[in-house]
């Protein structure tokens, strides 16, 4: 089977100097025709950038991108637009239907842009696609008159309008309730299995992973075949073990305790605080101080002396 998408050592860098951000780090990826690939990753992992580059909306800083067997990295903007029209379908998180058009017109729109279809042909095909996604009854409604799930299904019909080589979906169930999300997800699975449509979905929703014929992971701008070690927990351990940070926090705690004790001593001297409350506050401060003493003792540094109020 040939490749619907192939990425070779794709890097994407935004900005330069101090604001330089490397979003994709040498990504290699192949998606074959008929696959339903789900790429999972948290926010900021580079999944939308990856989708933008595959969809020819963005260009890689270095590397090569092939879509439907064509290298797209050297095309100019007009060529890319024409290429997208013929080969790529998009479904965005927020459906992004054109609000001035009805559901039917939204699906007709990409077909009319190609100039390959007459108005009647485009309408006939659009109606059939709406029937395919179960929305022929709402064909004349505007997006504002549709539910979230219906809008997303119209967006899927629109993405299929020009028989694209691949449909790219960015968090397709991100803004949907569970019922609508299930309908959209099952439609995607069905279109892949029965219709043979190739899909590439990026998401952080693990439930969508069940759809995939192949599941990939993206972390820190790199693609993984297996779930990588959790970057967040790794970072957390590093942060907790950071002795400089620990010392800084402890010193701050000490200063805060000193201020609290000073204020409490003054209030007692002035007789402005009941005895029971004094006891309660002292108890609280003693606990905090003991905690700090334990930590300090473990690290072998910093001794703390607390005045008895």
């Amino acid at each position: 089977m040939s490749d619907a998408v192939r990425l070779e050592n794709v890097w994407k860098v935004y900005g330069d100097g101090p604001s330089r951000a490397v979003v994709l780090k040498g990504v290699d990826l192949r998606v074959e025709y008929g696959e339903l690939v789900v790429i999972m990753g948290p926010s900021g992992s580079g999944k939308s950038t990856l989708l933008g580059i595959i969809g020819t909306l963005d260009r890689p800083s270095t590397g090569r991108v092939y879509v439907a067997g064509v290298e797209v990295t050297s095309m100019d903007e007009d060529e890319l637009a024409a290429f997208r029209l013929a080969h790529v379908g998009f479904v965005f998180q927020d459906h992004n239907l054109l609000r001035n058009f009805t559901a039917l017109e939204n699906v007709m729109y990409p077909m009319l842009l190609t100039r390959r279809y007459t108005y009647e042909e485009a309408k006939e095909k659009a109606l059939e696609l709406l029937r395919l996604v179960g929305l022929e009854r709402v064909a004349d409604r505007f997006p504002s008159q549709l539910s979230g799930g219906q809008r997303q299904r119209v967006a899927i019909a629109r993405a299929l309008a020009n028989d694209p080589d691949i449909v790219l979906m960015d968090e397709p169930t991100g803004n949907l309730d569970i019922d609508s999300a299930a309908k959209v997800a099952s439609l995607v699975k069905w279109l892949n299995q029965v219709y043979g449509q190739t899909f590439l979905i990026v998401t952080h929703n693990p439930e969508l992973a069940t759809l995939a014929t192949r599941l990939l992971y993206i972390r820190g701008g790199r693609i993984y075949e297996k779930p990588p070690e959790s970057v967040l927990s790794k970072k957390l351990v590093e942060e907790v073990r950071n002795s400089e940070l620990r010392t800084r926090i402890r010193n701050s705690q000490l200063r805060l305790l000193e201020v609290e004790l000073r204020a409490l001593r003054r209030l007692v001297a002035q007789g402005r605080i009941p005895r029971c409350e004094t006891e309660a506050r002292l108890s609280l401060l003693r606990n905090r101080a003991n905690k700090l003493l334990q930590v300090a003792a473990r690290s072998g540094r910093d001794r703390l002396v607390i005045d008895s109020a």
Binding site: S48, A81, A82, N100, F101, L112, D170
Partner: protein
């Protein structure tokens, strides 16, 4: 509904969805076009009316004045008439006075010159050499006051204290409206002798109107008059017309400046509307581009929207302009100034319409440029 179809549909729906803002934009364009149209129509009518008035007022090709108000001797009339190329010399006295309590221009002419002073008799006729205390009143005044031939009106010179009864012998449209170019007022024609008596200037007239055998000899005759009367003031009809048209052109220019300010405001208004549309549709523009719409298609959407606003504004502006011009024309006429005809020149209408469409397209250029520069990835990433 090929590539133009979706763009047109999008633009039309957008206008419908934003009715209030679109209506305001159309009104802004319409006001600019209306003022332009009305101004051109009134200006064309005014020029025609002015030409006609000057021709009527200066029945002769040359007007000869003295140094003062009424100091041209009657003896000069015969002498002027004897100059080469002069076919007729007409002495005229012009005085201000009150008729039935209203300020009027009193025109003193000889009975044999009434053919130049009266355009058309509505009732009655002129006066003869022997008629005494007779007057021809202007038709509009007679109608307003319910006067007719045989009625007696009281006329009093502006600078005198004595009032005299005059018998109306004719009700007419006055042709020789000497002051028409600069003053509002009613005219009454009295015998030359009586006008002179009112001013206490027997033997003198205000001016002498010279009819020439050939209008092209006006400069030559002027030189002749000045050689005989070096201190006389001589005006040719052509000069008066030129002066009148210069004044009209000046007023036109000022009005046009105001109109241009209006049009500029309309351009900014349209630009603002299209710009806000572009901002509001940034996401949809990004989606269109992501789906594969070429840049020129995106430009087409907003240029079409501006063009529709321009067309609507243009059409409304033309209607309002014609109505406004008619109103202005009637206002001028009712004030007793020119009777301005309503001349609707197709060229003016076409120009106004083109102006509306072109200005709307110009105003859309910057917003369209912004729309074409929208990077789909940048917009969609912000989801």
């Amino acid at each position: 509904m090929k590539l133009l179809g979706p763009a047109l549909l999008f633009a039309v729906r957008d206008i419908k969805l934003r009715k209030f803002v679109s209506a305001l934009t159309v009104l802004a364009i319409a006001s600019g076009v209306a003022s332009f149209t009305a101004l051109r129509i009134v200006s064309t009518g005014t020029q025609l009316a002015a030409r006609s008035v000057v021709s009527r007022v200066i029945s002769g090709e040359l007007l000869v004045y003295g140094e003062g108000l009424c100091d041209v001797s009657e003896f000069a009339v015969e002498e002027l008439e004897s100059l080469p190329a002069v076919s007729r010399a007409v002495p005229v006295v012009l005085a201000m006075g009150y008729m039935e309590g209203s300020l009027v221009f009193l025109l003193g002419v000889r009975p044999e010159d009434l053919d130049l002073a009266v355009a058309r008799y509505i009732e009655g006729g002129g006066f003869g050499e022997d008629d005494y205390r007779v007057v021809i009143v202007e038709a509009s005044f007679a109608e307003e006051r319910g006067l007719s031939v045989g009625d007696i009106v009281i006329i009093k010179p502006q600078l005198g204290s004595t009032a005299y009864p005059y018998r109306i012998v004719g009700v007419a449209d006055i042709g020789m409206r000497v002051q028409e170019l600069s003053a509002v007022g009613t005219y009454a024609i009295v015998p030359l002798r009586e006008a002179q008596a009112m001013l206490d200037r027997e033997g003198y007239v205000t001016m002498v109107m010279l009819k020439l055998e050939d209008e092209n000899l006006a400069d030559y005759v002027r030189e002749e008059v000045l050689s005989v009367y070096p201190r006389a003031r001589v005006f040719s009809r052509r000069e008066v017309m030129r002066a009148v048209f210069q004044v009209i052109a000046l007023v036109d220019g000022l009005m046009l400046s105001v109109t241009l300010i209006g049009l500029t405001i309309a351009v900014f208004g349209t630009s603002s509307t299209i710009m806000s549309n572009v901002r509001e549709h940034a996401r949809e523009i990004a989606v269109m581009r992501a789906l594969g719409a070429p840049v020129h298609h995106v430009a087409k959407v907003f240029l079409l929207e501006a063009a529709i606003l321009g067309l609507l504004g243009g059409m409304l502006g033309l209607v309002l302009g014609i109505v406004g011009a008619d109103f202005a024309r009637k206002l001028v006429s009712s004030a007793g100034l020119f009777k301005v005809p309503l001349i609707i020149d197709p060229t003016v209408l076409a120009l106004a319409f083109v102006l509306a469409v072109v200005s709307s397209q110009l105003s859309a250029l910057y917003p369209v440029l912004k729309a074409c520069r929208i990077k789909p990835m940048e917009v969609l990433r912000n989801e």
